[in-house]
Amino acid sequence: MRRDAQAVVLLLLGGGLLRLAVTGDYLDYVKPSALWLIVPAGLALVAVAAVTVLEIWRAREAPDRDGHGEPGIAWLLLAPVVGMLLVAPNALGSYDAERSGTAVGSEEGRSSYPELPDEDPAPLTLLDYAARAVFDEGRTLEGRRVELSGFILHDGGEPQLARMVVSCCAADARPVKIGLEGDLPADLEPDRWVEAVGTYSPRQGRDEINGELIPYLEVESITEIAPPDNEYQ
């Protein structure tokens, strides 16, 4: 790869990272804290590209091959450029959730289940609700109304509420699934984002993929919402 082509690849990669940071789309792929890594790296790559262009321009000659035998493997770096700038996939949703087992098992070793916040209904993350329901038999959930938000997932014709949990980046995303019972609207389509208010239900199902327990929520009301900026938890 010639030096001018290298400059273009570096510029596209750095620019792609900066674009993700500016538009906020980086939240579809990494955790919010990664912003502090993405922005300096994007700026650095753009700077290297700028210096390279300056060098070529100063040399005032056709940019020959660098002395170090630039590897052909660098062409592969166009793949993430295509991924970031042209394809720009959305955050993972029901397609992945249908194909992965619920991640509630990661909370099995949790030692304490503090009282719910005083608000009514109490907002909870799906993972928190599932852990309290499965590993603490719902002790802290009894007699309380809770509010959960996530996307709709269909498991054998039955709608579930799900959310992807990310520990490092979206590559390790795994779903948490909550079963829904009670009066449900008929038009709950997959990937639609909803806010469900309801109470703890002792009913539990099993995830066919990994055999983990799926807790249920007795739904009082379910309202459609816009997808949050950060779709992961």
């Binding site: 790869m1 010639r2 030096r3 082509a5 273009v8 690849v9 570096l10 990669l13 990272l17 993700l20 980086y26 792929y29 990494v30 990664a34 890594l37 993405i38 300096p40 790296a41 650095a44 790559l45 290297v48 210096v51 390279t52 000659e61 056709a62 660098d66 002395g67 170090h68 630039e70 590897p71 493997i73 660098a74 062409w75 592969l76 770096l77 166009l78 793949a79 993430p80 295509v82 991924g83 970031m84 042209l86 394809v87 996939p89 959305n90 955050a91 993972l92 397609y95 992945d96 194909r99 992965s100 490092c168 980046c169 979206a170 590559a171 390790d172 995303a173 795994r174 993929i209 990994n210």
Partner: protein
């Protein structure tokens, strides 16, 4: 006088020819910038078709995971290549020679520990080790440094902490296993190594001053390691998207097969050590020890490194070094996994 005139005429003609030469390069098919421009035009023109093709849920999911690994790993890779360029260009070469003890058996652990202080990615540490050998550092110490530096330096440690939130023992186990294995390989070299296996590397010198060398080093290291990172990210995305969870679970659940499978994966994907923790963390079905083996084996031996070892030290070195490094890394990872995880 006529003689003089003849000479100056000759010189003038030659310099004129030299000036003309770059203006008329020989045509050898499309240059890389032309190929790049064509690719970009094609990409933009084909965008609707690409989007339909990649609009399939499976393709979207694959791309999201692939982009996620790249977005998470590129900042660490960038930080690593910038720091390693600073060291390669601005730290005097004699410095390493001065701080290492004269006796090889003592120099090995010192070199191993100094790997923890001096950040550098594995692609940079191979040429650095070559330069150290050439300047008279004991090969055993240089090799230990080469193995330890990309495995346990601060950037790699930070990225491992970030990749395993709430599980700092993963990072400590990685540090312990890599350091022990690197020192073991160094001592093994003192006992069994022969100098004739090493083909002394040719000195790679930078023309045109320090700053051009600095930028060239960043560019080269980033593009080189970044290319291999793309391969690693693609394989990780494929494993996570296309292979049914139940399938992978059968290998992953098996205590021995899981470790061997991820060690093999580390050798094949040739990931940069600054980014491999994120891939390891994403292989959620595997045991912690298997993930540790992935992170310890990767910086020691993989397809890309074996190629670089052969290029720097010669083939007869590379064929002996790779198996020794693999066995040491695997043993240390399993031991550390048993004790710490």
């Amino acid at each position: 006088m006529p003689q003089n005139g003849g000479v100056s005429h000759d010189v003038a003609e030659r310099s004129a020819a030299a000036e003309r030469a770059p203006a008329r390069p020989r045509r050898r098919g499309p240059t890389s910038i032309e190929a790049l421009a064509l690719l970009l035009v094609f990409g933009l023109a084909a965008r609707p078709a690409l989007l339909t093709l990649l609009g399939e849920p499976a393709a979207q999911a694959w791309t999201a995971r692939f982009v996620a690994v790249m977005v998470q790993a590129i900042p660490f890779l960038t930080l690593g290549v910038v720091l390693s360029a600073v060291i390669a260009v601005f730290v005097p070469a004699g410095f390493f020679h001065r701080v290492l003890p004269g006796r090889a058996a003592l120099a090995v652990p010192v070199a191993g520990v100094s790997g923890a202080v001096l950040p550098g990615c594995e692609c940079a540490s191979v040429p650095v080790a070559g330069a150290l050998v050439q300047r008279g550092v004991a090969p055993a110490a240089a090799l230990t440094f080469m193995l330890a530096s990309p495995a346990i330096n601060p950037i790699v440690m930070v990225s491992t902490f970030v990749a395993f939130p709430g599980r700092p023992e993963m990072a400590w186990a990685r540090l312990a296993a890599s350091l022990v294995a690197a020192i073991a390989v160094g001592w093994l070299w003192i006992r069994l190594g022969r100098t004739e296996w090493l083909r002394p590397p040719a000195h790679r010198h930078h023309e045109g001053g320090r700053w051009p060398a600095f930028w060239a080093s960043i560019r080269h290291d980033f593009l080189h390691a970044g290319g291999y990172l793309v391969l690693g990210a693609a394989i990780a995305a494929t494993l996570n998207t296309l292979i049914p969870e139940a399938w992978l679970a059968r290998i992953a659940e098996h205590p021995v097969l899981g470790v061997l499978a991820l060690a093999l994966l580390a050798v094949l994907v040739s990931m940069c050590s600054e980014a491999d923790a994120f891939v390891a963390a994403s292989l959620t079905q595997f045991s912690p020890t298997a993930k540790l083996a992935f992170m310890v084996v990767g910086p020691f031996v993989d397809v890309k490194l074996a190629a670089m070892h052969a290029a720097t030290f010669g083939r007869s070195f590379a064929v002996r070094f790779a198996p020794a490094a693999l066995v040491a890394a695997l043993a240390a990872a399993v031991a550390a996994g048993a004790v710490l995880l």
